[in-house]
Symmetry: C2
């Protein structure tokens, strides 16, 4: 007769600098965040343990707060989990907090809302201290026009035009709750995107297109036509990964 061990479910928040990684999700031939977290976890709980993220982030994209969960029979106090992880993790990945959660919780399926933020460095000269965490746009931008164009992207739309043509999902309808654009005195411009979920490269293509509205390549109204076209080739460039942060995941 064997005693069944109790299985605990743990939800963690993690912050990472994506610069050195091939994205969140496990992949062949490239080091990923998930791999680093699973390796750290293996050395804590001494058995291979799968972790489940709230979703992927692309190669080079950062997370201020990503969420993942895992199961384990090991029970240690909630506030010890981050310390245990961080002792095993490199300095560009930090587990911020951990909590025991009911077994029905799922880091991916239970997401209610995600916030992404994108940082532009809008100055004639590069800012070397921001180079890993922003997109340097050296020409002046019409922020008013960008805000106007962004307003056409808010709401429920078919975002086929704003989705990588490599994406495999069928349903390209997504609901964007909010897009805000804030200029800071320092020269940074922060674009914030809030929605239930986003397609592959969607935030980066929205940013690239909005920047091209700001520089005068597209009119504000062109964004409506781009949406209607349902064709990736109609939209603007994909903004580089290093300016993008998964900022927050709500449950």
């Amino acid at each position: 007769m064997s005693m069944a061990k109790t299985l605990h479910k743990i939800k963690c928040k993690v912050s990472y600098d994506g610069g050195a990684y091939g994205g969140f999700q496990l992949q062949e031939n490239v080091v990923t965040i998930q791999q680093m977290l699973e390796e750290a976890l293996l050395s804590i709980v001494k058995e291979p343990t799968r972790i489940y993220g709230s979703g992927r982030t692309d190669a080079g994209v950062h997370a201020k707060e990503q969420v993942f969960h895992f199961h384990t029979t090991i029970q240690i106090p909630e506030d010890r989990w981050p310390l245990a992880f961080n002792k095993k993790l490199p300095e560009d990945i930090v587990v911020l907090e951990a909590a025991y959660v009911p077994d029905h919780f799922h880091a991916r399926f239970d997401v209610v809302e995600k916030t992404y933020r994108y940082c532009l460095w809008n100055h004639r000269l590069p800012n070397i201290f921001k180079r890993r965490y922003s997109w340097h746009v050296p020409y002046s931008l019409d922020i008013g026009a960008m805000r106007q164009a962004a307003s056409f992207l808010i709401g429920e739309h078919d975002f086929t035009s704003f989705c990588s043509s490599k994406a495999v999902v069928e349903d390209k309808v997504r609901h964007v709750y909010e897009i805000s654009i804030e200029e800071e005195e320092s020269g940074e411009i922060w674009l914030t995107f809030r929605g239930k979920g986003f397609l592959y490269n969607m935030v980066r293509i929205m940013v690239g297109t909005l920047v091209q509205v700001g520089s005068g390549k597209y009119s504000c109204e062109a964004v409506k036509d781009i949406l209607d076209a349902k064709d990736r080739h109609q939209a603007g460039v994909t903004a580089p990964a290093q300016g993008l942060f998964l900022w927050n995941v709500k449950y």
Copy 2:
């Protein structure tokens, strides 16, 4: 009969991320900022040209604005110099501006005032996006006590206790015009030091000592005794290089 070529003197502002370098000044067996600037300059003007900085910065220390000058017979418009340099420089060094200056100007001897700033990340958890540009101090700090202690360092003093014992200069009297300590909502604490000049490691030892006042290791008044002792061993730790920025040089 040869025509003497006119020699022009050029003053440049440069920003650098010191993380990958052995400091500003040329050294054997380690890559320095000066070396990178002189190599870039060689490929522009096609002859070896010495540059003169406003002073050294230690290995790992950054500069928001360092100043240097050089002589050349090449004359190109002022606003083309930064572009010419930046084409040859790596992405962690950027020449911000250049100006032709009278021949009596000297980047080191004509300094009127220097400002250094130091960034603390004061939070229980590390901030991975600041890790290259701040010192993570995970315990709480008594900012009031730090400000009080800092007030004893302002003015003209013999800073022997706040100078690396490796320093070779005789005269350790320096005049600190201002020290300010600002807490930001984000969790950053910025210490600003303004003075005509600083000794080797002086800002970093002042920061280390002030942090140890903030944590309760030293009383505010202890700083007066430390100054009086004229002994490096009496002062606190040397704060790590990566939090320090040469912020500005005035002429």
